[in-house]
């Protein structure tokens, strides 16, 4: 760790001022402190935003407004989340451990970085994300956890968040504040695919701060939603594949389908093609399979992660099947 200064943001304006002058934003620290200690990242100043007001409140239209500094555990246990957005509660609870969920903030969770082992090995491995143009040792190395969708020849890393997969499914919107004022970005547009610039992971501009997340009012498929995480260990492990799914069915036909995948790409993957394919069809395993296959047409396996494509198919079919079964 290079030496750095630490300041606790007095309020949002103070935080923004410090971010504007180059301070790195510290939330719960569960990812950033680790990255600093491993010398994956350097900072000269930290501004701690984890003590800023963290409220969860209903919006005027019946949605939910979540401040960026709300802890993951708090959000998962919140009655409105558990009742109206069960997929989000389950996704949050699938992440990390109870201790980490008590620390991690919503904003920090969104900005967490990949767990690629080559990204972490500063001394011994090449990584285009750390050092653009250096090369990618994961490409022909251990890539079991890596992306099958949206990867580039520069980077095959995945985004590790569970929460973001649920947020992607929920049409969540991220509120940002920066030198040019405030703006909002749909979560599905917030993270970007690696393309030729894997060092760029989000559309966050210099000096900008995530201030909160807004969830639209729950649709029928949201109130009837689930999250299933598939991993190497039964708990406390990152996803190989995760699926956020929601279904609304009327008169034997799907009226609304929502699907997002985790563990497959550099961003939480909203399966819009699959969703479209499911509208107005009968909720059968064959229909689910056909729909997710359509989504995964562009999937490209690497040497060690080809299993993810079939696993994603099977898990999506199972999650949607369970939702359809429970509704029926």
């Amino acid at each position: 760790m290079t030496p750095f200064g630490y300041a606790r943001a007095a309020d949002r304006a103070d935080a923004l001022a410090r971010v504007g002058s180059g301070a790195r934003v510290l939330g719960g620290g569960t990812n950033l402190v680790d990255l600093l200690r491993q010398n994956v990242e350097q900072a000269s100043e930290l501004v701690d935003v984890s003590r800023l007001e963290g409220a969860i409140r209903e919006s005027d239209d019946g949605g939910l407004l979540i401040d960026a500094s709300v802890r993951n555990a708090t959000l998962a246990a919140h009655p409105l989340v558990r009742h109206r957005y069960p997929v989000l509660a389950r996704a949050l609870l699938a992440g990390a451990s109870a201790q980490i969920r008590n620390m991690a903030t919503v904003g920090g969770n969104i900005l967490q970085r990949t767990r690629c082992m080559y990204f972490y090995d500063v001394e011994g491995a090449r990584c285009n994300k750390r050092q653009p143009g250096a090369g990618c040792d994961a490409m022909d190395g251990f890539n079991r956890y890596h992306a099958v969708l949206g990867a580039s020849d520069q980077c095959i890393a995945t985004h590790p968040s569970d929460m973001c997969v649920a947020l992607a499914m929920l049409d969540a919107v991220i509120h940002l504040s920066g030198p040019d004022g405030e703006r909002s970005v749909p979560l599905t547009d917030f993270h970007v695919l690696p393309n030729a610039t894997p060092q760029t992971e989000t559309v966050l501009k210099p000096g900008e701060l995530i201030t909160g997340v807004e969830l639209p009012p729950p649709s029928a498929a949201v109130t009837h939603s689930e999250y299933r995480k598939v991993r190497d260990r039964s708990s406390y492990a990152f996803a190989l594949i995760s699926v956020a799914g929601g279904l609304a069915i009327a008169e034997g036909r799907i009226t609304e389908a929502r699907i997002a995948l985790g563990g497959v790409a550099a961003k939480p993957w909203r399966a819009t093609r699959a969703e479209t394919a499911l509208v107005c069809v009968a909720p059968t395993p064959d229909a689910f399979l056909a729909a997710i296959r359509e989504e995964l047409v562009g999937a490209r396996p690497l040497s060690g992660n080809g299993f993810k494509i079939g696993l994603a198919e099977r898990t999506v079919v199972a999650v949607l099947g369970a939702l359809a079964g429970a509704r029926a």
């Binding site: 011994g124 190497d232 708990s235």
Partner: protein, 770 residues
């Protein structure tokens, strides 16, 4: 050397075959086999209160004035030379006191290798340490940075710039197999075993199985990182270490630094998990060298990544097992060939091929293993070395054979259970493998198992059951000593440089000493973990309890003699020989006439002695050369496999153990369960990811190397036959390692029973099942 070793051991075995059993250690069964007061019960561990308070002090926690913190810089190539080394930025960084590299490191010797010829040696490799610019493995330490704080040391380490001239490195297992070497001996056995024309029997048998099984590199990953707090005082080196070989570490450091044996003091009262990993590695040596150079005390705490770069793990193995049987299941041939990695600079054998030599009464054997020499960090012993990967291959093959025969897997074992050693013909000291199977089968409800795979289902889950044998040899280490001191009040104090890393060492030997000396538990103390105490061998090979027990037993004999001498004639015991008295009620009494008794306190008082000390020693373990002494176990597993995701959930584990007498039901249960859970991890998730392109370990964190979490661990039932081994102290055999053996096979066999899929490559990750 090893040919000579084979000849010597072969010769001793031949002689001992003709020596009457009564002349050998254990010739007369230990009276404490049956006479148990404290032994055998549910005794809570005596260091429990300190541990639950956080008051047990570990190596990195010893306070020290003027301390410097060490951080390591590791090489990033596997083979070559340091071309440029720039430490100027590091030296100039705030708080940095010293940067040590091969340029300024003290001249020191190479580590003396651990082995049976020198019990005060603990080196896991025999390479020079920071004496030259050569790079010999990816992760070798190239610089040590000492600073006033840990943060400053780590920052300094990040500022060291190294450029290498890389040389071609041998880092690929498959390529290395072509030039593999074949050692003459494997631990104390001949490596090559060819008996009874196995190849002909394999060709002619009615039923054969011939398959290749692989196990990956694995790391011990104790939760306590390797750590040492070191200080030089007046030319002597004091090391507060986390080690399972106190005297080995002291002796080795003395040797390396050219000191007298007594000039290195190693203290290690608590070790936060070892499993074979907590031996002598480069960090203690570099810490001592840096402390010497800096003239200040040094604290080394390895980061998780440094642990993976400096502390060797269990080698990967590739094992071919071929079994031949007649239609009744009787084994005609057992072939076990294979490869592991053991670099030439490495010391530890992974003798997986020893496993199948003692378990089953095959008519013929064809066994040999080969080592691949690679430019890697030395491999090391990890819980149940040899038998842990060995049982995976042998016991999966037995399951495959049972399936091919259409036989119940337990019945296949029953019809091949050996009544004596199938290779040497030596009698078992005690063996009740099938009793263990019967106990375990009853407990798990084996009769619920469906013989046909893939036929039990609950929703998406396919349910299966499996079993497998575990085994580990008995060993007792010579030279392990204890001092027993009787104080004026008649209490006993047992001291030995033995080790506590969770086994309950002091707890059990306190029970033992109490029963041996006829004292209540609260009159006995046990102190261990310090090289100033009488010599004890390493805590390894599941030998520590037996070795200490033999030493306490020997010391108690001396104690009786000394006490009788002090007692003189003015005692109720007058006229008796020491063989005619026994310990009872805090003193000695006549065996013939229990009314004739005098307490320790009385004898000491009358003789004007404040205390009396004797030292006893565990003698040469000749019994293991006359008898076939192996513990066995029967492992059972019931699990579910998701048909959708391939995820495995182990619902139950049952381990039934035949390990002689159990000395403390509570701590023994924990030992067995702990071993089984390590076997569970081996089966399901554990795999060290070695990138063969660079020879670099990538899975250097506990987030990447998956050990079981609470939710992975089911309720585990542990049972034991409790049949005493008449040839061992207390009738007990070691229990530390056998728990790990056979578990992975039982789980893999249960997966087959659940799904019909035979996975021969560990770990059983879900991608292998969908």
């Amino acid at each position: 050397m090893t040919k000579l070793q084979n000849a010597i051991i072969g010769g001793v075995r031949a002689v001992l075959g003709h020596v009457p059993a009564s002349w050998l250690p254990g010739g007369t069964p230990d009276p404490l086999i049956d006479k148990r007061v404290s032994l055998g019960g549910q005794q809570s561990r005596i260091d429990g209160p300190d541990k639950v308070r956080g008051a047990a002090r570990f190596a990195a926690e010893v306070p020290m004035e003027n301390l410097l913190y060490a951080a390591f810089v590791h090489s990033t190539i596997a083979r070559g030379r340091i071309a440029d080394l720039d430490v100027s930025a590091a030296e100039a960084a705030p708080g940095v006191a010293l940067v040590m590299t091969y340029r300024n490191a003290p001249k020191i010797g190479v580590p003396p290798p651990i082995g049976i010829t020198n019990l005060k040696a603990a080196g896991n490799h025999t390479l020079p340490i920071m004496q030259d610019p050569e790079i010999r493995w990816n992760g070798q330490v190239v610089a040590v940075v000492l600073a006033e704080t840990r943060e400053q040391a780590e920052h300094g380490a990040a500022l060291v710039r190294v450029r290498y001239d890389a040389a071609p490195a041998r880092t690929r297992f498959e390529e290395g197999k072509a030039s593999a070497y074949t050692p003459e001996s494997m631990l104390v056995e001949r490596n090559r075993l060819d008996k009874g024309d196995a190849s002909r029997k394999l060709a002619e048998a009615a039923f054969t199985i011939d398959a290749v099984y692989t196990t990956p590199w694995e790391n011990h990953n104790p939760i306590e990182p390797h750590a040492a707090t070191l200080v030089w005082r007046e030319g002597k080196l004091i090391v507060h270490d986390a080690t399972q070989m106190v005297h080995g570490t002291a002796g080795s450091l003395a040797n390396i630094f050219g000191l007298k044996a007594g000039d290195v003091h190693v203290s290690s009262p608590y070790v936060g998990g070892g499993f074979g990993a907590k031996g002598l590695w480069d960090h203690q040596i570099l810490g001592a060298a840096a402390a010497k150079l800096a003239g200040r005390p040094v604290r080394v705490t390895l980061s998780r990544a440094s642990m993976h770069r400096l502390v060797g793990g269990r080698t990967q193995t590739e094992q071919r097992v071929a079994l031949a049987a007649d239609a009744d299941g009787k084994l005609k041939a057992l072939l076990h060939h294979g490869y592991g990695v053991k670099p030439l600079h490495s010391v530890c054998d992974e003798g997986f091929s020893l496993t199948g030599r003692s378990l089953y009464a095959s008519e013929s054997f064809d066994v040999v293993q080969h080592y691949v020499d690679l430019d890697l960090l030395a491999n090391s012993f990890m819980r149940g070395p040899g038998e842990t990967p060995g049982t995976f291959a042998i016991e999966c093959a037995m399951d495959e054979l049972a399936d091919a025969l259409g036989m119940d897997p337990i019945e296949l074992r029953r019809c091949n259970a050996a009544s004596r050693d199938p290779v040497s013909g030596a009698p078992h000291s005690q063996n009740a493998m099938m009793e263990a199977y019967d106990l375990g089968a009853a407990r798990i409800g084996w009769d619920r198992r469906m013989a046909k795979p893939g036929t039990r289902r609950e929703g998406e889950w396919l349910i299966g059951m499996g079993c497998a044998t575990g085994t580990f040899p008995f060993t007792r280490m010579p030279g392990t000593s204890v001092r027993i001191t009787i104080d004026a009040a008649g209490g006993a104090h047992v001291a030995s440089a033995a080790h506590e890393m969770g086994m309950g060492t002091a707890t059990v030997q306190r029970q033992h000493a109490a029963d041996r000396l006829g004292l209540p538990l609260d009159r006995v103390t046990v102190i261990i973990g310090d090289s100033s105490l009488p010599f004890a061998s390493f805590a390894g090979g599941s030998s520590q309890t037996a070795s200490l027990a033999a030493a306490i037993s020997a010391a108690s004999g001396k104690l009786a003699t000394e006490l009788m001498r002090l007692a003189g004639n003015d005692t109720p015991l007058a006229g008796l020989k020491s063989s005619e008295v026994e310990f009872a009620d805090g003193g000695l009494r006549s065996v013939e006439d229990p009314a004739r008794h005098e307490s320790f306190a009385s004898i000491l008082r009358r003789s004007g002695r404040g205390e009396l000390s004797v030292v006893g020693e565990s003698g040469a373990p000749l019994e293991i050369l006359k008898y076939s002494m192996h513990s066995t176990s029967a492992n059972f597993c019931e699990l579910r496999v998701s048909e959708i995701t391939g995820e495995i959930r182990v619902d139950r584990l049952v381990g039934a153990f035949d390990c002689g007498r159990i000395l403390n039901a509570k701590t023994a249960t924990s030992q067995f369960k702990g071993g089984m859970i390590m076997g569970l991890g081996m089966a399901l998730t554990e795999e060290t990811l070695l990138d063969e392109r660079t020879g670099r370990i990538m899975s250097t964190s506990l987030a990447d190397y998956h050990v079981p979490v609470h939710l992975d661990v089911p309720d585990i039932d542990v049972l034991w036959t409790d049949i005493p081994d008449p040839r061992t102290p207390l009738g007990a055999r070691g229990i530390g390692e056998i728990g790990t053996t056979g578990v992975a096979a039982a789980i893999a066999n249960a997966v087959f029973n659940a799904t019909g899929k035979r996975v021969r490559d560990l770990p059983l990750t879900l991608d292998k099942l969908i």
